[in-house]
Amino acid sequence: MIAFLVRRLLQAIAVMAVVALCAFFMFQFVGDPVNQMVGEDATKADREYLRESLGLNDPIPVQFGKFALKAAQGDFGVSYQHKRAVSTLIVERMPATLELAVTAAILAALLGVPAGVYTGLRRFGFTSKLIMTLSLIGISLPTFLIGILLIYLFAVILGWLPSFGRGEIVKIGAWETNFLSVSGLKSIILPAITLALFQMTFIMRLIRSEMLEVLRADFIKFARARGLPNRAVHYGHALKNTLVPVITIIGLQLGSLIAFAIITETVFQWPGMGQLFLQAVQVVDIPIMSAYLILIAFFFVVINLIVDMLYYVVDPRLRVDQPSGGGGHG
């Protein structure tokens, strides 16, 4: 167990090192930081001075060392576009994105899991087929299109919900929330649904296919033969066994939440980290882009580590030392 953990940790560190290298090279090869930061009338002497004081004339390994050290402390430099510290910008926008992501995740789980279980248990019913068809459409429609359609329906035609922005924000200490105002609550509905839709259909289809596979297994037959009521068989035995791959997938889903948050935030003008990143890409604001790269990589590495460890804990088969495993079910 310890060897496993150590190996994974070492791999994680190696990945972060490579990512940091990539982020660093982004600075080196993409555009010229000095030109980006000063106006056009800066003299050559001024630029040289700036270059020297930024440490851009140091040898490359030294620059990389400084870069890595600063990154580890959370200092990602100053944004070209906003002229403010990148870390401040990110922290400012984090509440917006986090509230949206968490709302969407809860929505997706609340609706996706029961739907998956239902369509897995009653796969030939009409409602099941209906849900499956809707889910196929959910996967095929791009997120931004769903967002736009929702805006068109609920904001333009019906006028029930706002079409952009976060509504009124209430400050609690350092955190700005939009849950405490009516306009804020109204504003989060459409973006959260948009973000949740893809996850929801994904989770639902996954749980369904896992349930179908597990229900075919022998131990389910034996449980029924023993006379266990359907409820015990379905939830006690079948559902528990579907959880193992579902854990990985939830880990993956957290990742895709970030990606789709970028799109959703853009469609709804939601002032979160995703929108910040996209604007940075559009104007080639390297500090923000490289900060995002490092943060995302860190996030994924941590998620993968946690998922791996959870796997180890949840699936007893992985803990069996003997190769034969005795044929027992997990």
Binding site: L141, I148, G255, S256, A259, L278, V281, V284, M289, I303
Partner: protein, 306 residues
Amino acid sequence: MGPPSVWHRIWDSDIFYSFRSSKITMVAAFLTALIFLLAIFAPLVAPHSPYDVATVDLMDAELPPAWEAEGDPRFLLGTDNLGRDLWSTILFGTRISLAVGFLSVIFGLVVGVSLGLVSGYVGGYVDSFIMRVAEIQLSIPGILIALLLAGTLRGVLSAEAYNDAIVYVLVLTIGTSIWPQFARTVRGSTLVERNKEYVLAARVIGLSRFSIMWRHVLPNVMGPVLVIATINLAIAILSEATLSFLGVGVPPTEPSLGTLINEGQNYLFSGLWWITIFPGMVLAVLVLAVNLLGDWLRDALNPKLR
């Protein structure tokens, strides 16, 4: 009666039977083929030429579809904000979307299958390294990878060069985001094939590793690749649409479906719904049809379900 012709054999085959018996799949295939043909022959089918600046008149801008009151019968689905006929622009835009989609899948396929073959056959450190990279990449959503790559390239090239080379940029970025799936599957199949007798026989004869991989193992591992390719075609088309929607894809001068939807979003509130809705519908139908085809293909070729 002589031996059955090729057509009879296809008609009676397992795969075609499962195709015939699923109406949805046949509809999906028909729709996909229809969209393909319309896109390929866009220059012949489109009533107007939307990229020819001489024929586009700003006075025609923002006209609603022909069946509405202020519509113009010349422009079936209305015009966009620059006065281009929407139907023609959609046709050409679908062309770009499909081209980028296909090329990205081919790129990802070539890279992924090659790396998978090498990884599975050669094994050792090469295998570990390639698979590690693939695993890491698989855990990050494709859009993010594509966005980061696109953003970096945008910084390296000037804005003009970027737009000129946009198709190559998109194919490169989207292809990079999908190769790991191909690599993983092919590696798995290669590991299985490697121990079979025909490979051992080839090695005994003294064929080079490259020759064995390319001419003997490869044909036997291509099956699942087809399914992955189809599913990834839908993903590639969606990725291109998303990147264009976000502004880092195809520029508005020769817009793809995603770019059109983005442009149209600005006019949604003024009531000009057609600029967004029609390209959106085409995109949705296209991706849905390709997804359905991929689903059917996966079930038809899945040995466990036979």
